[in-house]
Every structure is written in structure tokens, then in C-alpha cells.
Amino acid sequence: MKINTLLVGLLTSVTLVVGSAQAAELSIVSGDTGNGLAFLRSQLDKFEADTGHTVTVVPMPSSTTDQFGQYRLWLAAGNTDIDVYQTDVIWAPQLADQFLDLTEAAKDVVGDHFPSIIESQTVDGKLVALPAFTDAPALYYRKDLLEKYGKTPPTTWAEMEATAKEIMDGERADGNPEMWGFVFQGNAYEGLTCDALEWVMSNGGGQIVEADGTISINNENAAAAIDRAAGWIGTISPEGNLAYMEEESRGVWQLGNSVFHRNWPYAYSLGNGDDSPIKGLFDVVPLPAGDGEGARSAATLGGWNVAVSKYSPDPEAAIELALFLSSAEVQKERAINQSNLPTIEALYDDADIAAAQPIIPAWKEIFQNAVPRPSAPTKTDYNEVSSMFWSAVHNTLSGNGTAAENLELLEADLTELKGDAW
């Protein structure tokens, strides 16, 4: 906190010294939505007041795939109209060449952030982006139903499966034919990579591609984890789950038609909305663990960062903005207003946050189990790797081959894609 205030003060004074003629016009592009944008604007207003710069927000569609394509094209063409980009946690290695190295500028503050997050944004020793907030999913469960059937929140997938089945059957017999046991993100897209990575990782099956670049996915634990998930489809999860993304699964869950639900923190406040049928009837716990060797709960690391375009006409002011947006001050505001998880460890013990968003300190436990997707080792090939992985998993879930078969093919494909090195 102190350092930050100091820094902001320092920068402000620098600006003042250099003169207000140096006030820059900046543009930040953001795929953030609704309240998020409003929040961003409010913070930028502060920034403008502090520094004399003006910042325009260029909103983008919330689809991360759309954003990524646009940003790539803009950056490839050397677009000078955008100074600062909001980036997904997995993009850093793919866009690293087009962003400025922030190591020097952020050397005083990097220590405050979770090292794992800083690591995820560092490519070949270059700090590509500064973290703005982080994200990690949890297992949502229906307090009322678990109580009714005398169950405790599950800690292993097997336990979750059994509980889900029992309650689902019971509820269906009780007159809710729409009841399901568990909904998650099963469509063939990045979300499935997240979900499946959790199953594999929690079952001791590694993280697809290890940090050193080894392709580890073709192993028994991984296969067992994915096979187990395939078993859910049509039993505790609807067939349609194969097409669900976050919103579809939340729809089922929020109508009260599922016992368990895997989702990001955003579903928490929405589930407690005034018109929600399950308001106050649910809670969250870390995702279950598997039962293989080295099994532990695992949550895929999400989150957003800010990066500075190397084509920015005014890089210094842009860096200033990036530092501001990742500062403890803004992150605290963000946590309180947006229930976004801070990347600064100290904020989890912050009393104001705990008071405003009691869920956040609880999420620290979940966050500590967070695993990054293998974007760092696979570098520019990450999207293709992820696509191959989710396709293999989706095939298995759809009943096209067993996990063992599909993972073997996946390994071959990945090896080919990797070539000599990522």
C-alpha cells in the first residue's frame, strides 16, 4: 500500500514537473462487461484526476475468442490507436512480442502479487502484463438439499457423484423431473479445457503439458478422470451439458435444477440475486479431489491483466496506467465493488474486503489450489493445444472412444505440433 501510494505520488509529481503539456490521451481496450466497465470508468476518472491524462475506454464483445482475434490483428498491423490492453491470463505468451516489458517499471510492486500469477505473465524473463484480478472456480452446492438428505459437501469426485445421484433421484421421485445432479461447462471450447484440467489435475494426472514442456497428458490417472466425467453425461448431468458454456449451466443451476455446479465466482452474486429461486440456499467449497496418487483439489487459474502495446505513441503514460490498474488500491476497490479476486496476497486479510465480500477470504483457499493452464510452456501454440485437448475430452464425453484412446491420439498430435520445441 505504502509503496503504491508513494509510486502514484511520485508519478504524479513527475508529471507535474515535466508539465501538464505532457498530458497524454490514452486508449484502453477492454472486454469487460456492464458493471465491470462502469467500475473501470470510475477508476479511470480517478486516474485522470491524478495524472491529467485522459483515457478512453474501447469496449469489446465479452467473447474472449473475439477479443483475442481482434487484438491479434490490431497488434499485427501495429495499431497505434490502442495503448493498453486488458488480457486474459492465457494470452501473455501468445502476444508477448507485441507488448512492452514491464519488469523495470513494476520492479517495486511485483513482489506483492502471488508469484504464480506473475510467473504466468512472464515470458522468457519479460513481464508482459500486470495482473488486475484473478479468478478461480469452485464447487457450488445446494445447502438445503444436502441438509435434507443429510449429506456434507463432497471432497472427492466419487463422493460428489454419489451424493448428486442420490439427491437427484430423490428429488425426481419427489416431483421435480427436471432435477439433475451436476452441471458444468461441457461445450467444446476453452471452458472445457478449464474443467477437464481440473479433473485431470485433481486426479494426479498432471497438467497436459508440464512447465518444462513435457507432454504428460497420456497417463492412466488422466484417462481415469476423464472417463469418470464421461460417465456423468446422461446420468447426473444432462446430455445437453455437452453444449453448455458458463451461462447455460448457470441457467440450469439457478433455476434450482441441479444439486452441484462448477462455476466461477460471478455465479455467486447472481445466485443470490433477488429474483433467484436459490437465493441463500447454496454455498461454495473447493472443487473435489480425485482418488489417484497425488490427488488434490484443483482449480483452473483465470483472471485478467493489463498490458501495454509496444505501438503506443506514449508508452510512459500507458505504463503509468497499467501500474495504476494493477495497484493494490484499485484491486481493493475492485474486490469490494466487483467481488473480483485480488492478486495481491495481503488484500485477502483486508478487513474492508472481508466485511463487504465475505466470500473473498473464503476463496483464498480455492485460489491456493489454482493451477495454470499450460499457456506458458506451449507459448504461441497454446490455443491449438487447448483446442486439441478439449476436442479429445469432448469426444470422450460424447462417447466417441474411451479416454485412453483419445488421449493417446492427443499425445501424438501434441508431439507433432510441438516438433523439436514449443
Binding site: 512480442d97 507485441q98 455437452l242 453444449a243 440450469v252 490455443n383 478439449w390
Partner: protein
């Protein structure tokens, strides 16, 4: 002088006489075509050439300007392994690509086929005189008027297995025994995409055919009525031949559009292997994956494939484009 020796005899077999009229018309034609040609050259010509050029390089979006020429490597290349076996690589031997080609062609022909039939029916209905025709005409256009990204999402919503109204309707009417995840299952995904596309683009077809119908002089029908020609026969003998030029053009443009189908599938079933088309695959490689050159090669090949299919269509359909008496 040499030129005089070459000059033809003054009378008789002189050079073709170009009258003022012909000259005026040719001059006008030139001026009329110039703006179009300039517009197309800049807006399409240059970008096309860029893309084709990229397809012969190792370009990636991270390094667009430092791309190096690699010839046909993106299309076909080979590698001799230590064991001596030759491994073929590249677009032409890429299974995913050919799957996409098959999906695209299947999709395009099926959808255009049904659109033509439905479009014709709708156009004939709209060409008839009845009360409330204006309202119906406006209603027909609604599917075409809704932005594709929205209608795709809307249908995704309606086709949803849990809260989709179509499943609910099917269950209520007893057409479905259980809720179907239309877009999720490989077997139904293509059908779902087809239904939405046909729904969405039939108005386009209908309107163009209607315009064609409107250009047919009414008295031809009156004459046929007096001759006692059966309406069905009238349709095949009078309507169809007369509306054919308009119909052929409508089909060409729908076909071109359908072969490039992107946004609908991108929104409805983005990653399903059963519906992934050439454009969707090309986008993936161009922007999502780090394979800009490979994606350019796919675009180029897509262009060639469409060109071949169009030629075939024009040749088979005997579409006249150099006709006209003047």
C-alpha cells in the same frame, strides 16, 4: 510511307465503322465501369492478393512483415524420416480440412436447395393478390433483418435442451419423447445449423424471386388462362423459364454465401467437428492459432473451391452472362 502502304483501301473493305452512337456507348460504358473497377480493386483486389501471397509464406500474426517465402509448403510438403518413409504434410493431406470441406459443401447445397424451394413458394404466395399482403411481406423479411449474430444466439437459446422453447413445444405436442440437445450432439448439430440458416436466408431468395416474378408481364398469364393452361403447367412452362435469370443469380449468390458460412456456425456450434466449415477452420488458424499463413492457404483454397463450384454451376446451369442484344 510505311503506314500508307499498310492502310487498307479507302472504300469497301475499310476498317470497321464505329459510329458516333457506338463510340458514345463505349465511352459511357468505360466511364460507368471505372468507379466499380477502382472500388473493387482497392477493396477486394489488393487484400486478396495479400492473402494469396501470405499463403506461400511462413507468416504469423506476430511477424506479419518479416514473413518468408516458402512456396507451396503450406499446401503440401514432405519429410523423409530416418526409416525412409515419406511423410506428407500440409493442407492438401489435412484430414480436418477435408472434413471441413465436406461439411461446407454438404451444408451449402442442402441449405440452398431448400431455400430455393421455400423461397419460390413464398415468392409465389407474395405475388398473389390478397388482403394483408403488405404485412405478410414485411413479416417474411424479419428473419433476414435480424442480425446474424443475434439470430444465431436466439436460436441457440430456443434450441437449448433445458430451457429451449422448441424442446418444450416438441414435448407438449408429443413430437419428442425427451429433450434433445440439438446443437450439442454430432448427429443433430448439422440439422440445427441448416434449419436456422434456411429460416434466416429464405427471405433473401424469396425477395429476389419475387422481383423476378414482378418483371413478368401479367398478360402472359391472362393469355395462358384463356388458353386453359393448368396452373401447374403455367408454373413450369411460363413462370419458371421467365424467372430463371433472376433465380439463377439468386442461387449463385446464396451459394457463394453458404460456401463461406461463418458467423452462424461460429455462434451456434463453434467447435463441433460435425459442423466446422472451411471459414470457421480458416478463422481458427488465422487468428486463434498461430498459423496465419496456413489459414491464408485455407482461405485461398476455399476461394479456389468456390470458384470451381461456381464455374460448374454456371456451366451446368447455362447461366448467360454475355447475353443481351446490345
Amino acid at each position: 510511307m510505311a503506314t500508307e502502304a499498310l492502310a487498307p483501301p479507302a472504300a469497301g473493305a475499310g476498317p470497321r465503322i464505329k459510329s458516333e452512337l457506338t463510340q458514345q456507348r463505349l465511352r459511357a460504358a468505360r466511364w460507368f465501369l471505372v468507379p466499380m473497377l477502382i472500388a473493387l480493386a482497392v477493396v477486394a483486389g489488393w487484400p486478396l492478393l495479400r492473402s494469396i501471397w501470405f499463403s506461400f509464406t511462413d507468416a504469423s500474426l506476430n511477424n506479419l512483415y518479416g514473413a518468408e517465402w516458402i512456396g507451396f509448403g503450406n499446401y503440401l510438403r514432405w519429410q523423409v524420416l530416418e526409416s525412409g518413409t515419406v511423410r506428407w504434410r500440409g493442407l492438401l493431406v489435412d484430414g480436418a480440412w477435408w472434413n471441413a470441406v465436406w461439411n461446407t459443401v454438404r451444408f451449402a447445397f442442402t441449405s440452398v436447395f431448400f431455400e430455393t424451394i421455400f423461397g419460390m413458394i413464398v415468392a409465389l404466395v407474395l405475388n398473389a393478390e390478397f388482403r394483408g399482403r403488405g404485412i405478410v411481406r414485411a413479416a417474411i423479411l424479419i428473419p433476414w433483418a435480424i442480425p446474424t449474430i443475434v439470430s444465431a444466439k436466439m436460436w441457440a437459446w430456443m434450441l437449448n435442451d433445458q430451457f429451449g422453447i422448441l424442446n418444450d413445444l416438441g414435448m407438449r405436442l408429443g413430437l419428442l419423447s425427451q429433450k434433445v440437445a440439438w446443437t450439442a450432439q454430432a448427429e443433430t448439430a448439422m440439422t440445427a445449423v441448416l434449419v436456422v440458416d434456411i429460416w434466416k436466408t429464405t427471405p433473401f431468395m424469396a425477395l429476389l424471386i419475387l422481383a423476378g416474378l414482378q418483371m413478368i408481364p401479367k398478360d402472359i398469364y391472362e393469355a395462358a388462362d384463356i388458353d386453359g393452361v393448368h396452373p401447374v403447367k403455367q408454373f413450369f412452362r411460363i413462370t419458371l423459364p421467365l424467372v430463371r435469370p433472376a433465380l439463377m443469380v439468386a442461387i449463385i449468390f446464396r451459394l457463394l454465401d453458404a460456401l463461406r458460412i461463418f458467423d452462424l456456425i461460429y455462434v451456434l456450434t463453434p467447435n463441433s467437428v460435425a459442423t466446422k466449415t472451411m471459414s470457421v477452420l480458416a478463422r481458427e488458424n488465422l487468428f486463434d492459432f498461430d498459423n496465419f499463413a496456413y489459414g491464408s492457404a485455407q482461405s485461398t483454397l476455399l476461394f479456389l473451391l468456390i470458384a470451381v463450384l461456381t464455374m460448374l454451376y454456371i456451366w451446368l446451369g447455362k447461366v448467360r452472362f454475355d447475353g443481351g442484344d446490345r
